[in-house]
């Protein structure tokens, strides 16, 4: 009995062991599959508090719209997209910590990065190490995708870029310069990396396309400066024909309000690259007519049915107009969903392969399409232009589109000058 008992016991132990072994061989991946089948996890680090919270909120708004549509249509064979949204307060170290947590603890499939520039570089470092698939939807700093030293096979940028904007601004400015006889230029730009880079790139391209353009002075107000009187008087003393500015948000609004008291804009052509954003234009007390602005996001450009439909749908759901960050995030999520559907997977390598060179119809494309350029994995052919302001909607009229072949030409030259290619 004892021995038979022993025998049975031994057999059952063996059985148990083999079952365990079988489970280990086949069962475990099955469990993993079963778990992940519940959702496709997107980790979104973004800015939800502080002075630019509106931008982070608009980014996630745009993503939610596309994701809800994807999930309502049944997801990917029943796998729904789950969004994990975290506030990083625009701090790079916090963004890096959040993304590490997304990857290590939450096991996200994709890091959908909606961070400003400084934090985006921190995010890029983390995803590059981990090999996680990543979309950058808000950083406009060109080197993020142009610099091969920080390139990652699995990172893609869906955002406008400083160098593209500089070409668009400078070619438009040169043309206006010819028309209006602008020779003397001055810059008024916030005193930090972005404000200074923007001015440098703008004047660099401007002096190539218009060798007669002369720079007569610079005004560098502090970021979040409340009073621009001294800058305005500086401009009026230098008497330039035109002013280029990369001021944005509340700072730009204050500058325009205060400058208008001096009649600044009746004698000087003003080129504000960040003016044509709904939050900014609607906040200016009396938006002067005839200021020049780059197109950040407005429903009137491109003036297509698709773009108006996007603006209307966004407005209906959120009671507000989209921002520049919103269209970029909308483009990013659209491409990502397309890649997920095309590959039927969330594998980083497969998604990256599908993404490289992908071309899709889009409300935000210069010709109704956007392209994810394969060589440096950044979006190109987006609607890019400059126009002049009017006090009421549509706020910007006479918008001239920038020719992308010109953009590519200067971009290549710039990349060479930086030693990137």
């Amino acid at each position: 009995m004892t021995s038979s008992h022993d025998g049975i016991s031994r057999r059952s132990v063996l059985k148990g062991a083999s079952a365990a072994a079988a489970a280990a061989t086949f069962g475990f991946p099955a469990i993993v599959r079963a778990q992940s089948a519940t959702s496709i996890k997107l980790g979104i680090p973004t800015i939800l508090s502080g002075r630019v919270a509106q931008l982070g909120i608009s980014s996630t708004n745009a993503v939610k719209m596309a994701v809800d549509e994807f999930n309502a249509a049944g997801g990917l064979d029943g796998r729904m997209i789950e969004l994990l949204i975290r506030d990083t307060k625009a701090k790079p170290e916090e963004a890096a910590r959040v993304v590490r947590d997304f990857i290590n603890s939450e096991g996200v499939d994709v890091v959908f990065n909606c961070e400003a520039s400084s934090a985006s570089f921190a995010v890029q470092e983390v995803v590059r190490e981990a090999g996680t698939f990543c979309t950058h939807c808000c950083s406009e700093t060109s080197s993020l995708s142009a610099d091969p030293a920080i390139h990652s096979e699995n990172s893609f940028r869906f955002a406008r870029q400083g160098i593209h904007d500089a070409v668009a601004s400078a070619t438009y400015a040169a043309e206006m310069g010819k028309k209006k006889g602008i020779k003397k230029w001055m810059a008024v730009s916030p005193d930090y990396a972005y404000g200074r880079d923007s001015v440098e790139q703008f004047f660099n391209v401007l002096q190539q396309v218009d060798p007669e353009a002369e720079i007569v002075g610079y005004g560098w107000p502090k970021l979040f400066e409340p009073d621009y009187t001294q800058i305005i008087t500086q401009v009026l003393q230098k008497q330039p024909d035109a002013v280029y500015s990369a001021l944005w948000g509340g700072d730009l609004v204050s500058f325009i309000d205060q400058g208008a008291l001096y009649g600044l804009f009746s004698g000087i052509e003003f080129f504000g690259i960040n003016l044509a954003d709904y939050t900014t234009m609607s906040a200016v007390r009396e938006l002067p007519e005839g200021l020049h602005s780059g197109t950040r996001y407005i429903a009137a450009f491109p003036d297509t049915e698709a773009n108006h439909a996007f603006d209307a749908a966004y407005h209906e759901r959120w009671g507000d107009h989209p921002t520049n960050w919103a269209w970029q995030s909308a483009a990013g999520i659209d491409f990502l969903i397309a890649a997920i559907k095309e590959t039927g997977s969330t594998d980083s390598g497969a998604l990256a392969e599908a993404m490289r060179g992908m071309k899709r119809p889009s409300p935000f494309g210069a010709d109704g399409t956007l392209t994810m350029r394969a060589e440096d994995q950044t979006v190109v052919n987006y609607a890019l232009g400059w126009g002049t302001t009017v006090p009421k909607e549509p706020f910007l009229i006479d918008i001239a589109s920038t020719d992308w072949s010109t953009v590519y030409e200067f971009e290549t030259a710039w990349k060479k000058s930086q030693g990137y290619i």
């Binding site: 509106q54 001096y262 906040a283």
Partner: protein
């Protein structure tokens, strides 16, 4: 550094007038806020580091009144009175309990209020900046040309109004009974109390007046500055510099110092465009080294 440009500017009437008016406007707005800070310090001996937040509160209250009534003057009045009232509550409810405490406790209390008020305005008015109030309709006119210089009419109003406030403050301090009591309390609060004067009431009144000036400054500044949480920070720093240069507690000193800084910034922008803020701190350092009690402060103590 562009000393040639500065020399040219000082030599031409148009530039001189232009920069002077700009400097007066910056300086007098600064005076409105700084006078409140220095008044409170002079009598109560505490530095209200939350003063910048009172300025911010003034801007928000003015914006709200403007949104409701569309009347600029009413907005300024409501902001001044509202912040004055808030100042009394703050003084009675919190500050008066730490007058005898450590300076560190006073600073921490003020700091707590800076953070609370910054968050409070976000909760009430949202995170996005608010647009400026705009200027009253009466001032919607092309700028004047004085001696070839552009002078916005509204800036003349700000300059005139702030000067009136300065004069009124001076008359109050030197010509009225309460002004005399206030000055006496600066010298010797115990004696004032012993003479049967209700110092608690006096302190609350002074705090109200100081806060009212901050609210007034905030409302007037909001006529052309966008409004946002945290906007008081740079202002309290500037006010503090004005107070130090002018002499802690001296209203006349604050007036001179604010104008000095306004001019430094205005003309500094021509001569030292990259060092305008630096000049302000150089000025403060010079005063601290050469005349530590400030331009018009009392020595010793």
């Amino acid at each position: 550094m562009d000393l040639a440009a500065l020399g040219d500017c000082l030599g031409t009437s148009s530039c001189l007038i232009f920069q002077t008016v700009g400097g007066l406007k910056i300086g007098l707005l600064m005076f409105l806020v700084a006078s409140g800070l220095t008044l409170i310090f002079g009598v109560l001996g505490v530095i209200n580091f939350a003063h910048g937040s009172f300025y911010m509160l003034g801007a928000y209250l003015a914006w709200q009144t403007m949104a409701l009534t569309d009347n600029f003057y009413l907005a300024v009045l409501a902001a001044a009175l509202g912040v004055g009232l808030f100042g009394v509550l703050f003084e009675r409810g919190f500050m008066s309990r730490v007058y005898r405490g450590d300076v560190l406790v006073q600073i921490l209390l003020c700091y707590a209020f800076i953070l609370i008020l910054d968050d409070l305005v976000i909760i009430v008015w949202g995170e996005e900046f608010l647009s400026s109030l705009g200027i009253p309709d009466a001032f919607h006119r092309p700028p004047l040309f004085v001696g070839g210089a552009i002078v916005p009419v509204f800036h003349l109003f700000i300059i005139g109004f702030s000067t009136l406030v300065a004069v009124a403050l001076w008359l109050f301090m030197t010509r009225t009974k309460w002004g005399k009591i206030t000055r006496a309390a600066e010298q010797n609060p115990l004696m004032v109390s012993a003479l049967g004067i209700n110092t608690s009431l006096l302190f609350a009144g002074i705090f109200a007046l100081g806060s009212l000036l901050a609210g007034l400054g905030g409302a007037l500044a909001a006529s052309e500055r966008s409004i946002s949480s945290g906007m008081g920070f740079s202002v309290v720093l500037e006010s503090f510099i004005v107070t130090v240069i002018g002499g802690m507690g001296s209203i006349g000193g604050a007036f001179v110092a604010a104008l000095l800084i306004g001019m430094t910034r205005s003309f500094g922008a021509i001569g030292f465009p990259l060092f305008t803020d630096g000049l302000m701190f150089v000025l403060m350092c010079l005063v601290l080294v050469l005349r530590p009690q400030g331009l018009m402060g009392r020595s010793g103590g």
